[in-house]
């Protein structure tokens, strides 16, 4: 599948921003009023920026408001509704914390639920597409939720560390979440290698094969087309093993080691670079998420 930059930015930044919002809503981070405000601002900026980036993916962005209408069947519509609600709830939570309003915790829990719901809805956009066997698994939402939780935790402790407020429990939590998230990513990759294009093949796609093998003889057009640029992407496979390793190191291993160092040497600035590296690693893994996934339409063009 075509790895559009707007969608990679959207899923990476919004995922981390909403993850951060989740931990803020759960009161796991934001130990002071100032930190709550800064964390809420960072969360809303990342998630909101990601949503803005996703609009650049649209060919008719002025009609984006219509995407709020089909929540009954469309996960993209549900995502478009829940994500802004989550941002609004985060804002309300930060204001309530700042002003000491009663019920601030309840608003926080609501915000956390909406943040988790928004990430889940994003992941379901891909999970529901049966034509892309690599995506069509519960591992996809698990991986998105896992990476969002890990990214939110990494960002959360990074913000706390700037104010020397990063507690050991939070650091250990961030390490654990990061490990779980990257185990999920590795499981997703292993499944991808196993399923390929799923149960469909050129024989089921064409209904031919009664006489033996089926091969493409000539494609229907000499030039490229939308189907090939959008769903025939095949650049990634050449370097996929290296890119997976780079993503795993940048997004998982190095941030975990840096966070471990922060446990040992609390004064040194380990956590901000750890969070940035983590986001970069997630971005690479998200590029692979699209670039490596194969659509059944490739079968009609001789893909195997």
């Amino acid at each position: 599948m075509h790895p559009a930059l707007s969608i990679i930015l959207f899923t990476t930044l919004s995922g981390a921003g909403l993850g951060l919002g989740f931990w803020l809503g759960m009161s796991a981070v934001g130990s002071t009023f100032q930190l709550t405000a800064v964390t809420a601002l960072l969360s809303i900026t990342l998630a909101g920026g990601g949503l803005m980036a996703s609009v650049f993916h649209l060919r008719r962005p002025t009609r984006a408001w219509r995407a709020l209408s089909q929540w009954r069947t469309s996960w993209l519509s549900r995502e478009g509704i829940v994500a802004p609600l989550a941002l609004a709830a985060l804002f309300a939570h930060a204001v309530a914390e700042w002003t000491g309003t009663q019920g601030s915790n309840a608003i926080g829990l609501l915000a956390a639920a909406l943040c988790a719901g928004a990430v889940f809805a994003t992941s379901m956009i891909y999970k529901q597409i049966r034509a892309v066997a690599a995506w069509s698994s519960w591992l996809t939402p698990s991986m998105f939720l896992g990476l969002a939780a890990a990214g939110g935790a990494m960002l959360g402790v990074a913000v706390e560390s700037v104010a020397d407020q990063a507690g050991n429990a939070a650091l250990i939590g961030a390490i654990a979440l990061n490990l779980v998230a990257w185990i999920l990513v590795c499981s997703w990759w292993m499944r991808l290698d196993r399923v390929g294009m799923g149960t469909s093949d050129i024989k089921s796609a064409t209904g031919l094969g009664a006489k033996g093998g089926v091969r493409q003889l000539e494609p229907p057009h000499t030039g490229s087309n939308y189907l090939l640029t959008e769903m025939g992407y095949s650049v990634a496979r050449k370097h996929s093993a290296k890119l997976r390793m780079i993503a795993l190191l940048t997004g998982g291993l190095v941030p975990v080691v840096l966070t471990g160092c922060a446990l040992q040497w609390a004064d040194a600035p380990f956590l901000v670079p750890a969070a940035i590296l983590h986001l970069a690693g997630v971005g690479i893994s998200r590029w692979l998420f699209f670039a490596e996934a194969r659509h059944t339409v490739q079968l009609y063009y001789g893909g195997r």
């Binding site: 219509r66 659509h295 009609y300």
Partner: protein, 248 residues
């Protein structure tokens, strides 16, 4: 709404006869010609006369080879929207632009509501939807909805452009909900099949298989006819011509 109807009154669709199609692409061209000036915005091309021509088409003819060695046969394979009963392209649409009509089961795009996100094209396992490069809205086969009910056209022309134009009668249009319709009968007689049934889309369009006799093997001339051509069995005037020519 992007909810799929529980059932549709009629199930309009196409039967494509893979035994008869000669791969002339006339259906592709007539589809483009009709639909670039019919329903919705025109069907745009980019660089049509340049080095990298591309563009939106609603019907494409692939070419496959089936079988091995002498029994291998070429199969021309037209592919357009199958107007699935369980159309995944419709339910994923966030704006309500995609819909399946309760009346006749045709899957359509209301272009004025389409925001060009492309999710429906991802959801379609068959590659039946293409983004218009100029209008930025999703294009797909409409089953020539602006022909089939068009009372301004002579009755003969009230069928999809691809069906109307096919010079070998490899395409049929009709109502699959009616068990006595032309398409239902052809599918029953000739073993019409679904493309990728495992995708759970329940396509309405059906394909008819190429016949067993196809391939180079089928064209092999029986030995007795070959023997008849050898000089030993020639007689009469042919034998005289054969002898005369051999002596020269």
């Amino acid at each position: 709404m992007t909810d799929l109807p529980d059932r549709t009154e009629r199930k309009l669709g196409l039967v494509i006869d893979l035994d008869v199609c000669v791969g002339c692409h006339a259906c592709v061209v007539s589809c483009k010609a009709w639909n670039t000036s019919g329903y919705g915005s025109s069907l745009a091309d980019t660089e049509p006369y340049g080095p990298n021509p591309s563009g939106a088409w609603l019907n494409r003819v692939h070419g496959y080879e089936e079988g091995e060695g002498e029994s291998a046969a070429v199969v021309h394979f037209p592919k357009s929207c199958l107007h699935c009963e369980d159309a995944p392209c419709v339910t994923v649409c966030p704006t309500g632009a995609s819909f399946k009509r309760e009346k006749d089961g045709i899957v359509l795009v209301d272009e004025s509501r389409c925001m060009g996100c492309g999710l429906c094209a991802w959801a379609c396992p068959y590659g039946a939807r293409e983004m218009d490069p100029a209008a930025g809205v999703m294009k797909k086969c409409t089953l020539c909805v602006d022909r089939i009910y068009n009372e301004n056209l002579p009755e003969d022309d009230r069928e999809p452009a691809c069906v109307r134009t096919c010079p070998t009668n490899a395409r049929f249009f009709g109502d699959f909900a009616d068990p006595d319709s032309n398409v239902s009968r052809i599918v029953a007689e000739r073993g019409g099949f679904d493309l990728m049934p495992e995708q759970g889309t329940k396509p309405v369009n059906k394909y008819l298989p190429p016949s067993e006799r196809r391939g180079a093997q089928a064209l092999q001339i029986p030995q007795d006819r070959l023997d008849a051509l050898s000089d030993s069995s020639l007689s009469g005037i042919l034998a005289w011509v054969d002898r005369a020519l051999s002596r020269l």
